[in-house]
Symmetry: C2
């Protein structure tokens, strides 16, 4: 049944002309190469008639470019990454690129293996949320002339372009917001890991608390994937031990979800007994009763910058390949959960 796949050679033979001529016409070089209009038209019509489509594979092999970008994130099923994926994908296709995705699970070994797989000359660019210990792997990638763009987190010790958000600043703001609403015992719930964006959020919280001379209460939950059932219980214990807390700042939304369960179990009312803010806004925060205040990352702008930078690098428009470092502002959405007046 399979339609016979037709190649340039077939076209040339059928039309009794040379492969070269066909190729020139296909690549829009008919004029430049002064191929007669008649022939050009004839070839173009024939191509349409037989429905010829060039082989990307062969083109890639010949040109050394595959028009493929790897999108490597911690977990593609995480809402944040999935949303970015969706937006990136659309922009990529518009520019003739395809996206291959993969999840690292924040495991350096898996990340290295994945990168190794793709380095094998079949990919043009990488958009990566780096795991720990990926410095040398990424440096290699850059040295080997791949277009590399980090996002969500970056690696200070190496020279590599990135698109990230103002983690520390937004965390500072959110903490200050809680303080302004009357909190002075604010707990910070985060995850144990070397991810720089998490550290920056912690820094923001720490700084805000220190500015006001308030004591810090930090819960570092074990990093795990998938999210453990016991997470909520651990938060519950923390809350019981620190019963004087009047505010809670979650470093990311899935921690907040677990925390909300814990608060519910303890019959703590929001915002009466406890003000709550979370990093990473989520559809569900608006649905929840009461609505949960949250810091929203600018998904659309992140994706746009990501593609913009990637395309510039691929087109060699960034002279030294090290000129694309974007830091974007977030938006704090104040909702019922952190509004003391309610």
């Amino acid at each position: 049944m399979a339609k016979k796949k037709i190649s340039i050679k077939d076209i040339a033979k059928s039309l009794g002309i040379s492969i070269t001529t066909v190729s020139f016409i296909l690549n829009g070089k008919a004029k430049e190469k002064r191929i007669s209009e008649d022939l050009t038209k004839k070839v173009e019509e024939y191509i349409k008639e037989v429905g010829y489509k060039p082989s990307h594979l062969a083109q890639s092999l010949r040109l050394g470019k595959s028009k493929v970008i790897v999108f490597m994130v911690e977990d593609i099923s995480n809402q944040f990454f999935a949303s970015i994926a969706r937006k990136i994908e659309e922009k990529a296709y518009k520019n003739g690129y395809k996206i291959i995705y993969c999840s690292t699970n924040n495991d350096p070994e898996k990340a290295k293996a994945l990168i190794e797989t793709f380095k094998v000359r079949s990919v043009d660019g990488f958009i990566i949320t780096p795991t720990p210990n990926l410095e040398s792997t990424i440096t290699d990638l850059v040295d080997e002339d791949f277009a590399v763009l980090l996002f969500d987190r970056w690696i200070p010790s190496i020279d590599c372009n990135y698109v990230i958000v103002e983690n520390e600043k937004s965390a500072f703001e959110a903490t200050t917001h809680l303080i302004n609403n009357g909190c002075n015992k604010i707990g910070f719930i985060t995850v144990e890991s070397d991810q720089i964006q998490m550290n920056d959020r912690l820094k923001g919280y720490t700084k805000a608390m220190e500015v006001h001379g308030f004591p810090k209460d930090i819960l570092m939950l074990p990093f795990q994937n998938p999210v453990d059932q016991g997470l909520s219980y651990k938060i519950q214990l923390f809350l019981q031990k620190n019963s004087e807390l009047d505010g809670l700042f979650f470093a990311t939304n899935y921690l907040a979800f677990e925390g909300l369960q814990a608060l519910n179990t303890l019959k703590k009312r929001i915002p009466n007994d406890m003000l709550v803010v979370s990093f990473d806004d989520h559809y569900f925060f608006k649905l929840f009763q009461p609505n949960i205040s949250a810091i929203e990352q600018p998904l659309e702008v992140i994706s746009q910058k990501l593609m913009e930078g990637m395309l510039m690098m691929l087109d060699d428009q960034i002279a030294d390949k090290q000129g694309f470092r974007i830091i974007l502002p977030n938006t704090l959405h104040v909702r019922e959960s952190s509004d003391a007046k309610k």
Copy 2:
């Protein structure tokens, strides 16, 4: 800086042997071709030393197989698809396949364009959630010998393998469950679209209501992407107009989220004033107060079957390529929202 890319030719030259020999050794045919152990070892060591990796591009061109599977869904940022994506991806990599993803937005034109793009000989298989009007495109794909597997929804009119779930049966069960808990005025909230899985869910509801001779109340919301802000309001109007309803069955989780907002606005208490069940379980249903009963699709099994079928087709293990039709059962999780005794 770029490391010089080394090819089989380079290896052959450096070692003073022929390309063929190197290729045989690389492909594990050393013994079969009776190449001396000494040489084999020498070559293998050299390969390790210089860190040679074969070019997938060239291999694909030569072998006519790219080791790439396209994962084409309605929207990769939808939690259901993203979760499947994650699981598929893992299994694919284990088998040496890469996954390219794309979202159709349920738009037939976009789907066709996407398929056209990938058909261009650079892809081995397709996992697809078909949009409407995709019959001929998919038939072509199958005829042209691509491995094609539909999932989430299928197309009755064509001969194509699929992996789906028991939509009608589960919808029937969920409706019956509501009836058994005392409901006799159950509203069904769904989306206007020709998606077969949605129609099947509607059928299940209809059948259950008819078995008991209860009247049907169906709200068909306009299909839209992204989800419209006004959806919740439309559900609210429906609830006001049908104030006698004592049960609500949502055809998919995002409709339930909108419906929960509407119920909240109307101060309807769950389960006191209204029992609620939804198709497609979601993390939030367990988080929500009260917990929402839902039908869970077996994500893990779906992904596993999907990869299993895909690999079989790729290995030509399915004789006529039409022997892989899987229909999986779902699980109804009864929670507080549909428990009349609470």
